[in-house]
Each structure stands twice: as C-alpha cells, then as structure tokens.
Symmetry: C2
Subunit: 294 residues, 2 copies
Amino acid sequence: MGEEIRYKQVIFSNYVKTSVKESDLSLRTSKIQLKIPCGCDGVVLVKNLYLSIDPFILALMKNQELDLPSFTLDSKLCMPGMTAYVGFFKFCSPKKGETVYVSAASGAVGQLVGQFAKIAGCYVVGSAGNKEKSAFALMKVDLLKNKFRFDEAFNYKEEQDYNAALKRYFPDGIDIYFDNVGGKMLEAVLNSMRLNGRVALCGMISQYNSLEQPEGVHNLINALVKRVRMEGFFTSDHYHLYPKFLEMVVPLIKEEKITYVEDIAEGIESAPGALFGLYSGRNVGKLLVVVARE
Amino acid sequence: MGEEIRYKQVIFSNYVKTSVKESDLSLRTSKIQLKIPCGCDGVVLVKNLYLSIDPFILALMKNQELDLPSFTLDSKLCMPGMTAYVGFFKFCSPKKGETVYVSAASGAVGQLVGQFAKIAGCYVVGSAGNKEKSAFALMKVDLLKNKFRFDEAFNYKEEQDYNAALKRYFPDGIDIYFDNVGGKMLEAVLNSMRLNGRVALCGMISQYNSLEQPEGVHNLINALVKRVRMEGFFTSDHYHLYPKFLEMVVPLIKEEKITYVEDIAEGIESAPGALFGLYSGRNVGKLLVVVARE
C-alpha cells in the first residue's frame, strides 16, 4: 500500500473563447495514493518538478477545428532551443550579411534566434514589449541589445506605425522574418520584405488571445511579387535534427557564446497567473513554473 | 525615305484606382515613317502580330508601391506554359496520389497546371466561372472536365460557401493549391489544406480589380499549424529551366497528351475590351489580340 498524499491540481474548466480568464482555470486539492498498480512491472512513478508555460497552450484550450497535435513527452525537452535552431537554420536558410527581424524576441525562442542570426553573420533586429509602456518593456529592449547582442531592438508598443518602424530599422528591407506574433506585424513585415525573402511561421501569439476574429493579412500580394517563401513548422517534426542541434549548441553554451534567460514562477498555484502574464508580455525569456524543488 | 503609314495605338491614359474603366484607355490614330534612323546598322523593324493580354497587366497600371519588374522580351515567349511548369513542378513538389486544386483553371496557366497534375498522377479539381451564372461558365467547367481531363470542376460563382465546396471535392483535404486568385478563395483553401501542403502563389486576379482594399486572409494560423509552405514566384526568374520545360512539353504536345485553348480577339481596337473581359472572366484559355495577320 503506497503513501496517500494531498496534492494540488490546476483544472482546465472551460474552453477559452477569446482571452483566457481566471474562471477558465481552477485550483483543486485532491488525494492520491503513490502506488503503482499491481501487475505493472517496469512502471515508474514520475514527479514533475517544472511546468513549461508556452504561448501555444491557449490554442489547445480553444474548442476550434485545428489539427493540433497533443503534447508529447519530447515537447518538454529543449523545445525552445530546437525551435529556434530548426526554424532559423532550416526554414530561414540564412546567408551571411542578410537582414533578420525577430518578433517577440525576448521570449524563449526569440532570444536564441537572434543569437543564432548573429553567429550566422546576419544583421538582426528584435521587437519586444508588453501591454503597457513601462520600465519592464525598456528592460526587455535593453536585454535584447546588451545581453543577447541584437544589432537593434525596439518596443513595438511604442510604435504607432509598424511600417515606419520597420523602414527605420531596415531601410533596405528584410531578408528573413522569424514570426512569433502574426497579425498586423506580419502584414507590416510583408511590405518591407526583400526579393526572395523567407518568413518562418513559428507562432502567432497576437492571434491566440484577445480577438473574436483573427486579424486579416491584406497584402499577401507582396509574397507573390517579392517571391517570398512563408512556411509554418512544428519542432516535433524535426527531432531527427536533434543531434546536429546539440553538436552546434553545446560548444556555444560552454564557450558562453550564447546565453539564456529564464522566468521562473514558484509553486503550481502560480501557473494560471503565469499563463495570463504570458499573453500580456509580462515574462522575459523561457517561462517555467517550479512545482517542486526536489 | 521610308513609307509613311497610319497606325492605331491603345493609349494608357490614367492610373487605375480600383477597376479598370474605359476612360483609362483610349484609341488614337497616328502616323509613323517606317524608316530605320541613319547610322543604325544591324537594326530591324519589328511588326507585332499578336498582343498577349494577361491578368497581371492591371497591377502594372496601378500607381502603387510594388517592386514590379517591367515586361521583358522573354515574357512573350511561352510564358503561360513555363509558368505552369515552374509553378507546379518546382514550387508545388507534386507526388503521385496527391490532391491538387487549381483556381482560374480555364485560364492560360490553369488549364496546363491541371494537365501536368494528371500526368504526375495526382487527383485534380479546377474552378472557373465568370461574373454571371451563365451558359458560358457551364462551358468552362465542361471544358475542364472533358477537354483537359480534370477529375472534377466547378463554377465558383455558384458556390455560396467556398469551404463547403472544397470539402465536397476534397473530403480528405488538399495537398497542393495552385493559386491564381488570392483573397477569399485562398482563405477557404487554407482551411482545407493537409499537413505539409504547398501553395504556389502565381496570381491574385481577385485582388487586382474591383477592390478599394484587398481582402484580408484571416486564417494564416492554418499555415503554421498544418506546416504549409506558401511561396510566390515569377516565371522570369526561372528561365534556366526552359530547356527542361521544352524537353518535357514538346513530346507531350506531339503525342496530343496535352492540349490547349486560345481565345483570340481581332484587331487592336479590341484590346481594351479584351482586358475588361479578362477581369470579369469572359475569356477561356490564353487571351490574345491579333494586331495583324501577316
């Protein structure tokens, strides 16, 4: 007979319609016996120490007809790093001297894409921000330039006109756009793309939350006229590249040529708040919840 | 001293705002001396026998900031055939057994894409139509099925709901979309795309005319979730493939394995009308104007 323990759960109570609300998630305390059922040889009990909080979770919480895969075990293993690696090197086909724009650049994936772009010899600009103009947004922009060594960075919330902002940072246009946000920013980028540009569709965080109807992109004719390749990808389709990823990244980490910022919330009770914060840009870097320290 | 002749010109009088209007073009009769200027050895006088009327002309008639190339001499040499070849084989990467949808399928490019798709062992459905439900639209649909051997064809003007129409013809989804129209049809197709689908952005005829503001595509998240590759292309970038194109197409024409329909208007006076007709779907196949018979 195993030990009976009390534990806390975050319950997914309602399908999300537009924005995730507190009432869509609830906290519950339950009891469980830490016992492996009889006849289950070779089975182990697993204790989760961390939860990964990712923008994509909201898409899974909506009752909509999208062919979304379930989470797999793999998607807790270095996902942001592999996403940055696969998305940038496989889907953006970077060449030395090209211009790269990364949105949501202070996030888990974006911060690495920018560093990979610098290693590939590109000029890279990142945007970040949060719902309010704040010292916090300033800190994110500062982090992009001074910690992650982006060539330029800006707070997109301070820009009235995305087209003008992009013209300022990319007077000769953008070769590569690593898109983490979709919507109006994607539309503006298409106006600034250069001939034979590439857009990796990695995330559309601006479209997951807050909108009854997703924003329309009205200028896809630019993709035609400028011969732009736009491609969506899921990291889980490319795990055969994992050894190559490690081969590249491990020495770079050891030599401190790439760096990383994590944003850690304490206790499973903080998971709903961490998720709400993610959609209003309150995190910096990879967002985690510590469930237990050991 | 060369012979002085009277000749007719179609003059491009005004930049087009939304739809092309009769007042945007005018007919003029002028005089010219058929004489090569002195000192110009090796120069020849050229007499045009045919004009090519293409959907893309309207984009060149609008005073908008798009990086559009000027027409080149090459773009009167087999352009629709090369466009179908390059767009389908290079940008759609077809595999035997895949499902292919072609919009504006009775046009100069579409009719060939459908036939190439059948040769590649694909299931192919085309849509055509014109502004009014008419016997003419019926004739186009009939042509697609019975002359060009598409598996299915439909008049998009008779469909209230493009999503429902595509579900009917592609119950298991679309692998390849050869897009000649853009706008709302592209949006509907994205809902029906299969995993790892490909969209060749060849034309956006629905967006060139009649619209103050281009239609928005609101569901690009499908391109992300379904890992779809969307890519714009210009045939003129791929003329190095011309020998390969001929190698494939010439035997197919000789063996009557591919066929072709042209829509020929008589006399340069008919050029403006032919252009107006193109945007209301009044042509079938490659639209030409005969300027002179010899």
